[in-house]
Amino acid sequence: MTRGVTIFIACTAVIAIAPFVADNYVVRLCTFLCMYAALALSWNVIGGYAGYPSFSTAGFFGLGAYAGALLQHAGMNLVLSWLAATVVVAVLAASIGCFILRMKGHYFAIGSLAIVEVLRLIASSWASLTGGGDGLNVPILQGGPDFAGRVFLFSMMAMMIACFAMTIAVDRTRLGFGLRCIKQNEDAADMVGIDVTSYKTAAFALSAMFCGTIGAIYASWVAYIDPSDAFSSLLSLKVPVMTLLGGPGTVLGPVVGAWVFVILEEMIWAQFLELNRAILGIVIVLLIFTLPGGLLGLRLPAWNWRTVVGLRNRVPEAQ
């Protein structure tokens, strides 16, 4: 465990130096690295640990984005608006969770997708509040592009670190253990004394609220959001894929997956803009057929990932 944490801290430190040694392009990339790592880590709680295939990331991300944007419009201080947006999303997620977590498997997945759709449609139609399809402008941070770049890099980094810490906390405590039991066999988990409903709702809310904060930060960063941007189903697809790429149900998996994905995306398919989606699709197909356990699940004979990273949960492979 500590080896993985060390690696994480080392990489984070490298990212932290970026604004002082590299140009704005790199800073922007690093900000995305942190953002997606944080999103993947959040998703991991409900999708990786609890095993509920959620496609609702974009829903809570967008909700946080709009909440943060609107609060900023109302004059609230930047960081305060982010925190307030987090609370809003947490509360909403807990309420939605009460209903949607009654479903399982496919039904849950569709339900979570539907949440995103409905939220997007509401944002588009409630023009008086959200500006509808025209989108919402967010007050730009004063201080120039370099300063802003740094602020948002460190904000996203803080989120990534927070999500990482949250994941470790979940992994080591009763909550994580309970969620793993729920994933294996929900009825047996119930019989063994786990309050399944509360645990699932907690996982869902935890997962959602960090997405909310990240969305709020994102809104402030890009200074303009509209419904299709904030509630993008592509985001809802990419985030689980990143976690699957790295290794679901582990602490470092989402981070590894997110970083590899973002860098790949930047290098390869941002160059082929038109084939953007197709390449994502091909990556997904390859991922599913060649990396069933994600990158951290690879059993490379020469160097054993698990020893290097040391951060898998302790379940030995089934024969």
Binding site: F55, H106, I110, V118, G281
Partner: protein, 286 residues
Amino acid sequence: MDVLQILVNGLMLGALYACIAVGFSLVWGVLNVINMLHGSFIVLGGYLAFFAWRDLGLHPLISLVGIAAMLFALGWVLQYGLINHIVARPVLTTLTLTFGLDMIVYNVMTLAFTATPRRIALDLGVLHASDVVVPVDRIIAMVLALVLTSLLFLLLRTSSLGRAIVAVRMDRDAASLMGIRVERIYAVTFGIGALMAGACGSLLAVVYPVTTMMADQFLGKAFVVCVIGGLGSVPGALAGGLALGLIESVSGHLVGPQHAMTIGFSLMILLLMTRPTGILGTQGYE
């Protein structure tokens, strides 16, 4: 607007929705796979019909057969080659795979056909009956949709292939013990799903402008119909389709057509929470 007109509109829409959804429902019910490609298959069918009409001069009714065959082949290959291998994996995996495949198909279509809306304008005039006005092309589309759906129903009920498909839906292992080649059945079923989607797409191209951006909407409608009507059964898809068509027609009249999707989805969420098996459906897999 006349109540009768709203009803008729709803039923015509509903027949199309039923046809859209029945292939999707079959695949979900039998394979336990949610086919995210379904919407794209529909659009593909529509585009192929359009280009057959515009560039080859083929009447949609004629090209329908060819398009159905092509899409069946496409579906069959995808299933046998790719999806069959991961059918037993958890929901997240199958959903993500079909999502990913959809990305590829969508992208290729957008590049090949561009997103310009295409519609086959047959100009067949309108029919007047009492106070109700119905465009003839819609009637034809609706009738054909119902014909296709009925053909599928007959196939499932009377042919040995159909019985095999139903057997696999009920119990995959037992079917396999009976000597049914389950992987082949899966491939055929997925092929049929694609066929229905493509055929329906051709019909839709006669009635509405088709563009790649509609793929998501069609998929969404298919979901809603399945949840309303239940999984894996043709009567279920029919009931669900007609119900959705009527609901959209009525709500479109009351609050405006732009909210139709929201209402559909909200209804679906409500049903998922209270009665996920739908009005008529057999209990799908989870």
